[in-house]
Symmetry: C2
Subunit: 238 residues, 2 copies
DNA sequence: CGACCAGTTGACGTAGATCAACCCATGTGG
DNA sequence: CCACATGGGTTGATCTACGTCAACTGGTCG
């Protein structure tokens, strides 16, 4: 399994060298994905899990004539870990930009868990944080306006990317379009564009081509009323 | 632990008599809760989990001057199961109407898992379904209008209550207010009221006092474009 | 008896959707 | 090497679903 994932689990939960070795030796294949390439579709039955190594993935559902992006995923995430126990996908999983994933069969993970029961809790915890993020977005979408939603999105990404070492000099690579951001935030692309312009005018966001910079992160977090508690980052201090 | 939970796990996952006995013997206390009584608040560190035995609970977050209900919980749910691994609450947990819960210490659950590793997967799966429900509501809140959101809510409750034997003659006890429904659906109470009136006029919903009846469930599910796939009910046929 | 709360209704205000151009960079085929 | 198509981004005009405000009803409770 990939280093980025192992490093994250290491810093979040602390791994014994034994566990680390076991994770390293999980059989897997590396797969490269092109822009907008689909990994899994609604209704598919998965028999593998994918750990994102580089790039971005998102999950989406088509609802009526709309596309809703349910979540964005950064390297180190295993966005289909739930297929271990809920094999039928209730949404699509898609790559944005060029990305690479490590694909490991369910059987390999299950035997990993048998040999190292302590790892079960570590992976379970990963799915709990995933759930906490969804829960947070239920709040965002139900109770916040456009400005706060878009602001929260960039704040959250900064924290999650920082956690895997991909947020440097207040910047990160971001191959999504404004329309993608709109689909995350439950907004139209026109209104999303205007909201981003407000963030730009307030010097809270610089977004050109595929790079996003947050020149004044604290101010952005304050403006968006963002708190990273739900991402459970305190584990970093372990 | 409570029968309602055990019965659900039984039908969902299938339990050996050994596992069932172990679940039955988990030490716990029964606690009765009044209307709007709080169990846990944002920031609390939990050292117990509660399994809902009767009544309703909801999770909420205060966002600005608004209250967002993140999820509703029916008997058989363990809405704070995640505190096993994420001890700090990022939201409040509150009772509606009179309800009873079984309170079991984390330590008891952890030793249960040690003695019966197979139960870990069953409980993990429970948290995955919890996450699937949040994910679904991200879609609902991001992409559906008021009519669909409110309709989806009643459809979902019917399925979840049916699963634990609390949906009979197309009816269930429902001690929430219209304002509560508004807080689930991310709507104002005035607009929620008007939306409910539309459902009533279309003979899809009868709601008087604390009882809800869905006289034409299929039609309601069609109108709300509801599909129960995400609740993973197929396990019922096991 | 008044206080309070859920529900209901009407009038009005607004955030954000929709529609329709237009710009610009990139890519493609003749 | 140009002609044109395509897809992001941007802008302005208009529309609408929903929020807000305010008033009134009818139960319930002390």
């Amino acid at each position: 399994m990939h280093d980025r994932l192992i490093a994250r689990l290491q810093s979040v939960a602390g791994l014994t060298s034994d566990e680390r070795a076991a994770l390293n030796s999980v059989p897997h294949k590396v797969r490269t994905l092109g822009d907008r390439e689909s990994i899994l579709q609604e209704g598919d039955k998965a028999s593998n899990c994918v750990a994102l190594m580089s790039g971005f993935l998102y999950r989406q559902r088509i609802i009526g004539d709309r596309r809703q992006i349910l979540s964005l995923h950064v390297p180190g995430d295993i966005p289909d870990l739930m297929t271990l126990y809920l094999p039928t996908m209730d949404h699509d999983l898609i790559s944005v930009g060029q990305s690479t994933v490590a694909v490991a069969p369910h059987s390999a993970l299950k035997s990993l868990f048998e040999k190292h029961p302590s790892l079960v809790h570590i992976f379970w915890r990963e799915t709990l944080i995933d759930a906490a993020i969804f829960r947070h977005w239920v709040g965002n979408l139900g109770a916040m306006d456009a400005f706060h939603r878009v602001g929260q999105l960039f704040c959250e990404l900064a924290v999650r990317l920082e956690f895997v070492g991909l947020f440097e000099k207040n910047s990160f690579s971001f191959p999504l379009t404004q329309y993608d951001v709109a689909s995350v935030c439950g907004l139209s692309k026109v209104h999303t564009n205007r909201t981003i312009q407000v963030l730009r005018k307030q010097r809270l966001l610089i977004w050109r081509d595929d790079m996003v910079e947050l020149p004044n992160r604290e101010e952005l977090e304050a403006a968006a009323e963002f708190s990273a508690d739900y991402l459970q980052r305190k584990a970093k201090s372990v």
